[in-house]
Point group: C2
Chain length 200, copies 2
């Protein structure tokens, strides 16, 4: 495989990962690169690395709100803060992992629906009923997806991807790899772009 | 006073503040803006806000090294990591405060010499003898500056500027204000530039 690839480690609970989600496809299309989606559990990454959400420092959390809004305007991406933040994303990330494991090409469409529910529509994705509504509206069978997400293989896979991310140096989301080069943050997408131009 | 102003909160111990230090004068010259230098104690900001250096999370610290190097290349700024990091900057920031309090126009030149000693030449600025050498080489009288830095007025002033920064929402360095808009990080200088263009 000679096609350029961006490995994209993400969690739907991160507003910065959401912004990257909206922009990365454009960057990769322009560079003729493909996205290797790596759903991981950000909470697991934080636990393993000792890192934590910027929102845990009140002054930083307040600043980050405006910072994310500025980037959303720059990207022309719809964005609003979720009143139910933080969202427990364990089941959601297991669902995306399940779709990916069975080779379902709609995994990105499912992630997209979840991202929009959280970071555009301000839905409460901590509520299983809301999750079911969102998935159904996006054309998925919530009960089936939940059952698949609960299988030991899926649970193990999400854990393995998360541990692998940590082993490679990941400490937050979003994180991108272009070859061996790691970039953290939606605000580093210009470096991802440069890396795609340089490391053909 | 109608001239556009960037208030620049900095501490010489922060490599990100050093990078901003090298680039901000260019941005302000192009925008016809002046820099209002605000020497503060980053350790005091961390203590007051519950924030801490990214270097305290090992994986993040390792990543930050490469991240700062990438920005240094982008800015064409000389940069190397300081083997004596973290530097206790209390006396250094008091010295800069003392110069500023007595209206000495060489304050930026003094900060520049200290920044270069730490972030270009890798000197051990935890060592009073090294500090004296660096100040002397830059044309300052180390003993005189140290005496001034030890005055109660200077100590109080640095404390007051730091507390004022925290009260305005500062939680890290470098931090910039353009009017009431706050920007944190050397990686937000493009927004500072935009703000100078917009808020004339």
């Amino acid at each position: 495989m000679t096609k350029k690839t961006v490995e994209f480690y993400f969690d739907v609970g991160s507003p910065a990962a959401y912004l990257a989600w909206t922009v990365l496809p454009r960057i990769c299309a322009q560079a003729g690169a493909r996205i290797d989606y790596r759903p991981m559990l950000l909470g697991g990454v934080f636990q393993a690395t000792g890192n934590h959400s910027p929102m845990t420092v009140p002054a930083k959390g307040r600043y980050m709100m405006g910072d994310l809004e500025r980037f959303a305007r720059r990207y022309d991406a719809p964005f609003s803060h979720n009143p139910f933040f933080p969202i427990n994303t364990l089941t959601l990330m297991r669902m995306l992992t399940a779709l990916q494991m069975r080779g379902d090409a709609r995994m990105p469409a499912c992630a997209d629906a979840i991202y929009r529910a959280i970071w555009v529509d301000g839905r409460n994705m901590n509520d299983a009923d809301v999750v079911a509504q969102v998935l159904q509206a996006a054309g998925f069978d919530p009960a089936q997806l939940l059952a698949q997400a609960s299988s030991p293989e899926v649970k193990e896979r999400l854990k393995a991807v998360t541990q692998d991310a940590v082993a490679r140096g990941v400490f937050g989301a979003p994180t991108f790899f272009v070859g061996s080069h790691m970039y953290w943050g939606q605000d580093r997408l210009d470096f991802v772009k440069e890396a795609l131009e340089q490391h053909a």
